[in-house]
Structures are given as structure tokens and as C-alpha cells.
């Protein structure tokens, strides 16, 4: 069974790396310093926020459906942490914990609406997105907060060995945790099982409501973590920092081969997708693509990859049938 699965998912996985390779070559053509150690380090650091968002998003999509509130929850995590440090003079560690907690709570709210009230994920999370954005705006009161503690900023901006940034380290920690969770624990198995066939999962005694709930709490957690990292990197926060990340993270996850139908895919693929996305943005910067066109390009990429994926799967299914 497992062998069959790998052979059928090998081709899509290969195609991801091919896409990544094409983008890297394209980058080198545009700018010879694309593959310099510093640019790679920068790309990794830039990718870190997207990858962290992608870890939770992947788990949510594998288990049930997309978490369209990821961008707003990211904003909220950053805003809560920032306001606690700035206006209430809290220690940055406590502020970070509070930000992460806010993310988990919002994730739990999503999970409750999806698993217990049975509102489809793409409606409940899309709705929560707007409400959360509204509250982030209220908390900031329309201001922009900036210039935080040195020690807090080190999380996002510090460099080790001149090319590994602290952001990359944070990313590696969360990615490792996510991969271990999905590959080595029963929870991970349950996620795939609930995602691929909810009825079968229920029959085999899995409490799918709880699994969905947990998956969305994790997604809330990683989104908030990404927001906090963003604040630490940029050293400023306003109420729309996450809004541009939603399309990016979905593109990264789908490009990484996670199936929109659920139950298939993984975090490793998402990392490849996120790296590809970051380099696409890097290339667009090098080419001086006007900023207003970026969402359009990413929209094309999302539809293109999902289209490609659907067609590839169809072909594979045909071949199997023969």
C-alpha cells in the first residue's frame, strides 16, 4: 500500500523540484548574484515567515480545509505581542507567549465553527478573517507601532555565522516539530485519515471533531508565530501586515503538492513551495515588477499549480486504471 502511494506521489513531487529549479535558473539569469551565500541566506530568512505559516496551513488543509484566516491571525499575533511590549512594558517572552495564545484561541474558534457547528472551513475562516482584522485595528487604534527591544528584534534580525539568520532557526524548529507531529505521531495519522475519508475515520473510532479542532489550533499557533517573527524582523507593526500573506501561503501549500481535497500532501512539500514562492517574489523584485501586479501573478500561480496538479492526478488515475 505504502509503496503504491509513493510511486504515485513521486511524479508530482519531482515536478515541484523542477519548478523550484526553473525559478532558481531564472533568478541566476536575471541577476548573477542570485546564488550568492548572502542572497540565499536572505531568501531563507524571507521564506521563514511563509514557511511557518505554511506548516499550520498544510495541517489544516490536510485535515479539513483551508484556513483563510491565516493572514489575519498572523496580524493579530503580531499586534498582541507588540502592544503588550510597547504599551504595557511587558517582558518580550511573556508578550510572545500571549501572542501565541491569542493565535491558539482564534484557531480554536475556527475549529469550533468547522467541527462542531459544521460551517465549511472556507466560509467560517474567511468570515473570521474580517472580524479579526477589525479587532486588530481596534487594538492598534489606527497607529503604527515601531522600534522594539534589541533582544526581541534579535529573534527576527540576528545572524549566526553570517548567513544563517535567527529567523531561519525559528523556522527550522517549527518545521521539525510539524514534520515529527505529522509523520511520527498518531495525531498526524489521524489528520490524514480524517482528511482523506471522514466517514471511514469515524468508523475506525477517530473523534474527527477533536482532530479538526486541534489542526486548526495548530494553524492558529503557527500563524501567530509568523506574525511575531514578522514584527521582530520588520521592527514595526500595523493592522494589515498579514493581508498579503494569505494568497502567498496558499500558493506555497498547493505548489508543494498538498491536495485541495485533503488527506494528501505534507510539510516538506510546502517548504519547497514556500521557497519557490519567495524566490518568485525575489525575481519580481529584481525585475522591478510593479507591486500592484504581484497579487495578480500569485493568483495566476495558484490557479496554474492547482490546475496542473488536477490534470496530473487525472492522468495518473487513468494510467492506474489501465
Amino acid at each position: 500500500m505504502s509503496r503504491k502511494l509513493t510511486s504515485s506521489s513521486l511524479l508530482p513531487a519531482m515536478s515541484r523540484f523542477a519548478v523550484l529549479l526553473v525559478i532558481i535558473i531564472l533568478g541566476c539569469v536575471i541577476d548573477p548574484s542570485f546564488l550568492s551565500l548572502r542572497n540565499i541566506g536572505n531568501n531563507l530568512a524571507n521564506a521563514s515567515i511563509l514557511v511557518i505559516l505554511g506548516v499550520g496551513e498544510t495541517i489544516a488543509i490536510v485535515t479539513n480545509g483551508p484556513d483563510l484566516s491565516a493572514g489575519s491571525v498572523m496580524t493579530m499575533g503580531g499586534v498582541v505581542t507588540a502592544i503588550l511590549m510597547k504599551s504595557y512594558n511587558m517582558n518580550f517572552a511573556i508578550a510572545i507567549l500571549a501572542g501565541l495564545l491569542a493565535g491558539c484561541l482564534l484557531g480554536a474558534l475556527n475549529g469550533y465553527m468547522i467541527a462542531y457547528v459544521k460551517i465549511p472551513a472556507f466560509i467560517s475562516t474567511y468570515g473570521l478573517q474580517w472580524a479579526v482584522l477589525g479587532f486588530a485595528y481596534v487594538i492598534l487604534n489606527g497607529y503604527i507601532l515601531y522600534s522594539f527591544d534589541e533582544s526581541f528584534r534579535f529573534i527576527g534580525n540576528g545572524w549566526i555565522l553570517n548567513f544563517i539568520s535567527m529567523a531561519t532557526v525559528c523556522m527550522l524548529v517549527i518545521v521539525t516539530a510539524g514534520i515529527l507531529l505529522m509523520k511520527k505521531t498518531t495525531f498526524g495519522r489521524k489528520c490524514y485519515s480524517v482528511g482523506s475519508n471522514p466517514i471511514q475515520a469515524m468508523m475506525s473510532g477517530i473523534d474527527s471533531k477533536k482532530v479538526v479542532m486541534k489542526a486548526f489550533i495548530i494553524s492558529g499557533f503557527t500563524s501567530a508565530a509568523a506574525g511575531i517573527l514578522y514584527v521582530a524582523r520588520m521592527n514595526s507593526v500595523q493592522s494589515d501586515i498579514g493581508s498579503s500573506y494569505l494568497l502567498n501561503v496558499l500558493a506555497a501549500v498547493y505548489m508543494g503538492g498538498t491536495s485541495a481535497a485533503g488527506g494528501e500532501g505534507g510539510i516538506l512539500g510546502t517548504i519547497v513551495g514556500a521557497l519557490a514562492m519567495t524566490m518568485v517574489v525575489n525575481c519580481m523584485n529584481l525585475l522591478a515588477v510593479p507591486s500592484e501586479l504581484r497579487d495578480a501573478v500569485i493568483g495566476v500561480l495558484i490557479i496554474g499549480t492547482v490546475l496542473f496538479d488536477t490534470m496530473l492526478r487525472k492522468q495518473l488515475a487513468k494510467r492506474k486504471a489501465v
Binding site: P66, L133, G134, A296, I298, I303
Partner: protein, 314 residues
């Protein structure tokens, strides 16, 4: 007596809720129950009514369109460009409708002919349409001066709400299409049981494509009216509209998964939303709080509505 009770029982809960809100708001402000305020409410709710009807159609068919707000934006910009180029009003409507229909057609093509999930497709096209809108306008709103065009959406003589009248006409046509045409019947057939519809000879792919194209088309028409009412075509005017439209549809009794719903109910959802939004000003909620409160109310109302309809089904 029994008859009255039966009639009372048949009135949806939503109407009672709307009445309650109106009473609360009118006690708070003597200006609330005036003709002038009614005009403002009608003008504000009119365009949302059309976009929400588009959302209702798509949801009845079992799909979802997150790009409606972006189509509204792009349609408005196309109309504004046409007006500035000096085209007559009927042509402007045609261009708005065409822009909407093409955008909707793109959605429909990917969703129906390529089998892509609706939310991914429309989220992707949302990005594309907004990108186009920003490029076409150079990130700035297009202000419109054309007198004849501005009459479509204005409140004439401070008495006649033109945007409302236009949208009401369109709404009646939409109801007619839903209830009396083959398109309307297939809409329910596809939403209820697409496979069954296909087996009984309905060309489901084509009609599903048509549903998205039609949703785009009426949103494009709504965009022309909105642009005329606002007197400007803003490249981000449509943000959040798709969510409000979906909320209105669900509040109006349209269900996500069984091809159940009716655009006639959607008007109640639109009324509720418009009344709440204007009411927040009446009871003096600071503007900075308003998006948060409105978002919360909308989410709670969806939760409430979905729970109630699930109980009903049981």
C-alpha cells in the same frame, strides 16, 4: 384567530429581528424613522442586494465565489473608463456587464471545465482582478463628472433613489430568472444532485459555467450602478463585499450543501446588514470599532443560522 397565528408563524425569524432593531434605533434617534434616512438606507443596500443575489445563485449551485468583490471593483473601473472616454450610458452598462461576465466566465471555466475547487479558483482570480484593477487605475480612484451617467445612481431631487430603483428592477429580473426559466431550474438541479442532473440529460458542465458567468454579469451591472452612486471608481472598493454577500445569502436561508435557497430570502439578509451598519452610527459606536463589531455579528449570525437550519433538517 388561528389564521393570524398561522400567518405569524410563517414570517421568518429574521423579520422580527429586523423590526426589533428598527425599534431600538428609532428610540435612540428621532431622525431614524424619516423618509430621508430611509432613502439613504435604500441607496446603501441596493448594490449589495444584487451582489448578494449573485452569491446566492452560486451557493445554491453548490459553489462559492470569493471574487465577487473583485469583479465589482473591476466592473466599476471598466465603466468609469468607458464614461471618461465619452461613451453613452447604455454602452457603459454593456461594458460593465461584459467585464463582469468575462470575469465570471473565467471562474466558471476553471471550476466547471477544469474541475478546480471553487474557493481556490475564485481566491486566485480575486488576486488577478484586483491586480488588474490597480494597474488600470494606477492605484488612484477615477473620479466621474459625466452628468448623465451620475443620474443612474444618484438620489434625484432628494426624493427618488435611482440606484435603488435600478437594482430593484434588476432584482425582479433575477427572481424571474430563478423561478421561471430553465436556467433557474438547472441551478437547483445542479446544486441538489449534480450527478443526477447529468444523468437525466442536463449539460451540467455548461450550465455550471453559465452560473458563474451570470453571477459575474449581474455583479458587473451592479458595479456600474455603484460607480455612479459613489461618483468614483476606487481600485479597492470591493474589499469584503464578497463576504457580506455570502452572509446575506446564508442569512436569507440559502444552504451550503443541498441546493436549497432562494434569492427572495436574500433581501432580508441585505436589509439586516444595512440596518445594522447604519444603526451603529445612530447609537454612536466609534468608527474604529465598527468593522470589528460588524464582523463579529456576521459570524455569529452565520453560526446561529447554520445551527437553526440543521435542527430543522433533523
Amino acid at each position: 384567530m388561528i389564521k393570524i397565528k398561522q400567518v405569524l408563524h410563517r414570517i421568518p425569524l429574521l423579520i422580527w429581528f429586523i423590526l426589533l432593531l428598527v425599534i431600538i434605533f428609532s428610540t435612540r434617534s428621532s431622525q431614524y424613522l424619516t423618509y430621508r434616512n430611509l432613502l439613504i438606507l435604500l441607496q446603501q443596500g441596493a448594490v449589495l442586494l444584487i451582489v448578494a443575489s449573485a452569491a446566492t445563485f452560486v451557493i445554491i449551485s453548490g459553489g462559492l465565489d470569493l471574487s465577487l468583490g473583485a469583479i465589482l471593483t473591476l466592473g466599476g473601473i471598466a465603466a468609469a473608463l468607458a464614461v471618461t472616454a465619452g461613451l453613452p450610458v447604455p454602452l457603459v452598462f454593456l461594458i460593465g456587464a461584459l467585464t463582469g461576465a468575462v470575469c465570471g466566465g473565467v471562474n466558471g471555466f476553471f471550476i466547471s471545465y477544469c474541475n478546480l475547487p471553487p474557493f481556490i479558483t475564485t481566491l486566485g482570480t480575486q488576486g488577478i482582478f484586483y491586480g488588474l484593477a490597480l494597474v488600470l487605475t494606477n492605484k488612484e480612484g477615477i473620479v466621474i463628472y459625466d452628468e448623465a451617467f451620475l443620474k443612474i445612481g444618484a438620489t434625484l431631487d432628494r426624493k427618488i433613489p435611482m440606484a435603488f430603483i435600478c437594482c430593484l428592477l434588476l432584482y425582479i429580473i433575477i427572481i424571474f430568472i430563478q423561478d421561471r426559466t430553465r436556467f433557474g431550474r438547472y441551478l437547483y438541479a445542479i446544486g441538489g444532485n449534480a450527478e443526477g442532473a447529468r444523468l437525466s440529460g442536463v449539460h451540467t458542465r455548461f450550465w455550471k459555467f453559465m452560473i458563474y458567468a451570470f453571477a459575474g454579469l449581474i455583479t458587473g451591472l451592479a458595479a456600474v450602478i455603484l460607480t455612479s452612486r459613489l461618483e468614483v471608481a476606487d481600485p479597492i472598493v470591493g474589499k469584503k463585499w464578497e463576504f457580506e454577500a455570502i452572509c446575506c445569502a446564508i442569512l436569507g436561508g440559502t444552504s451550503m450543501n443541498i441546493g436549497k435557497g432562494d434569492v427572495k430570502g436574500t433581501i432580508l439578509g441585505v436589509a439586516l446588514l444595512t440596518i445594522i451598519r447604519s444603526g451603529m452610527n445612530v447609537i454612536r459606536i466609534p468608527s474604529i470599532w465598527q468593522p470589528a463589531i460588524l464582523g463579529t455579528i456576521l459570524i455569529l449570525s452565520i453560526v446561529f443560522e447554520v445551527r437553526a437550519s440543521m435542527k430543522e433538517e433533523k
